[in-house]
Symmetry: C2
Subunit: 322 residues, 2 copies
């Protein structure tokens, strides 16, 4: 194994491919050869200045352990929790390390990400990928866990359908997850071709930009747009719940009066439990391969980022291995 690696570095909104020495592997950490890394909307937001990020982006990955302390992990195919928690604070002790106040976050806060030939993560962050789950499926574990998180936070309504707003990558995964968990789903989006992916799983889909008012007790906002939240509130019935999934850069303008008058609950929702997503992937075919628009090598990352922002494009993956 070479002691050099190529990595993608984001600096002032510019992506550059660099060669560098492999970083030190701290005790308790594994070094992982990245097989596939996904480009997420958060990565596109990082490029636009969200979090003032500089460094190696990428937090969706599947890889192979090439160095570690725990010998049983060597050679294992893994995915990994993106939050590097302290392991000692009250949040960590409550198994909510993803809210640890001093956490680093893979490819987002203070820890180099997956758009690199190798990455390091604490061994306790890793989950083995079962043989029956392909690389192309496993790279979706992180966003699928984020979709699964919703039902760790809120209950499905007893009656009526759940609205999923947005047919981007996360919106599709959210709709697929809710369908898998038995919900009746109404998926609102703008691209007939993307909505076809969830219609095939049983969602009722609406392509129009016109939305009914107060039609659902549970609305998942996954548009990735600053206007999405107001749309979601309009779609929500009195005393209903809107789950907020879209992290967008900057402030969102919200008329809070309808939230208060209709006593709507807004629930911020982020990362979820990977073991839940992995378990489901082993048993259920989510049709994730159909969500992949392109797989490009690391040296074509600029092109890959542009492609990922283009209308109608689904998931774009990077393959760092030469």
């Amino acid at each position: 194994m070479s002691r050099e690696q190529r990595q993608l570095v984001l600096r002032k909104g510019r992506l550059e491919l660099e060669s560098c020495r492999l970083p030190r592997r701290p005790a308790g950490y594994a070094r992982i050869r990245v097989l596939l890394a996904g480009i997420c909307n958060t990565d596109l937001e990082l490029q636009r200045g969200y979090y003032g990020f500089e460094g190696v982006p990428g937090h969706e990955f599947v890889g192979e352990v090439v160095e570690c302390d725990d010998r049983r992990l060597l050679g294992a195919r893994v995915v990994g929790e993106i939050n590097l928690a302290c392991g000692r604070c009250e949040w960590c002790l409550r198994k909510l390390g993803r809210h640890c106040p001093v956490r680093k976050v893979l490819g987002i806060v203070g820890h180099p990400g997956a758009m690199s030939e190798y990455l390091t993560l604490p061994e306790r962050n890793l989950h083995r990928v079962p043989d029956s789950v392909s690389d192309e499926q496993a790279v979706f574990v992180e966003p699928l866990a984020a979709a699964a998180e919703i039902l760790d936070q809120v209950r499905l309504p007893k009656e009526g359908s759940v609205a999923v707003l947005g047919d981007g990558k996360l919106g599709i995964l959210v709709a697929k997850w809710l369908l898998h968990r038995g919900a009746s789903v109404r998926h609102y989006g703008r691209h007939r071709s993307k909505l076809a992916l969830t219609a095939a799983d049983g969602a009722e889909v609406t392509v129009s930009a016109r939305r009914p008012r107060a039609a659902h007790d549970l609305v998942i906002e996954a548009t990735g747009s600053p206007q999405g939240l107001a749309d979601a509130v309009r779609l929500c019935r009195p005393r209903g719940t809107v789950v907020m999934k879209s992290t967008v850069h900057g402030s969102v303008a919200l008329d809070t009066a309808p939230v208060i008058v209709d006593e709507i609950t807004l629930v911020g929702s982020r990362c979820g439990r990977m073991e839940v997503a992995l378990r489901a992937l082993r048993r259920h075919d989510f049709g994730l391969e159909q969500m992949i628009s392109a797989v490009l090598p690391l040296e074509r990352a600029g092109e890959a980022f542009e492609l990922a922002q283009r209308r109608g494009v689904r998931k774009v993956l990077l393959r760092p291995v030469r």
Copy 2:
């Protein structure tokens, strides 16, 4: 009883005292002589254009039934639910008439309010005021019920104190209600004199505009200011809850990223159950009289509205009776 009355009319932001014939009393409605009417922040917002309101404002009142169908009500001292619900829709059947989609709202939407010598309300909206509760206490039943609503929606955290943000009228009532219900309360405000009212009930108070970060699992936003929500989110711990009580005119700018990343829940909260507030008032002295800054006759309403907006002023009441 004269068939004429004086009433306050708000038209394009101007308050005018007018004389008019008593309106018709529909079947099932009572006519109520208003003893006291409170000026609420919502009334001040109506004056600024909130809801494009024109008509007789006022939704906080105590009065005496002077005409009715149900003879047992005649002469009773009453307060009244402000939502005039249809009584037949799914919300009404669930005893949530305050979310009835075709409701009118006393002094706010489509029904003349309490800043008048007389008002009408459906008899089913009325609650008798026990003799032990004074007019000056009873006029607070509506906002006290709005404070009580919070604990119909969320639970008190097991540990730590609840933060109440804002020392206006609603903030004080919220803090008083939570203290009455056994919560440990940290009350953040700007006026030492107002915070003294809740400190006397056992609240810990903070006068400074500086707020700690992520200090409370439950934060009640009752500042009446568009900046209040962002402050409340900053005060809230990961996975905590912010209850939104301030209806403000227009849009609020909110950075949604911390809500999502910290998985904070925002709960819109409006009117509450009056019977709960009345029951508590009969048993517990909330020190409400100390919250009254002035009681003015209806013809001095302009002055009363100005006074109600002045820094340091507490509740201003109108007494329509000559």
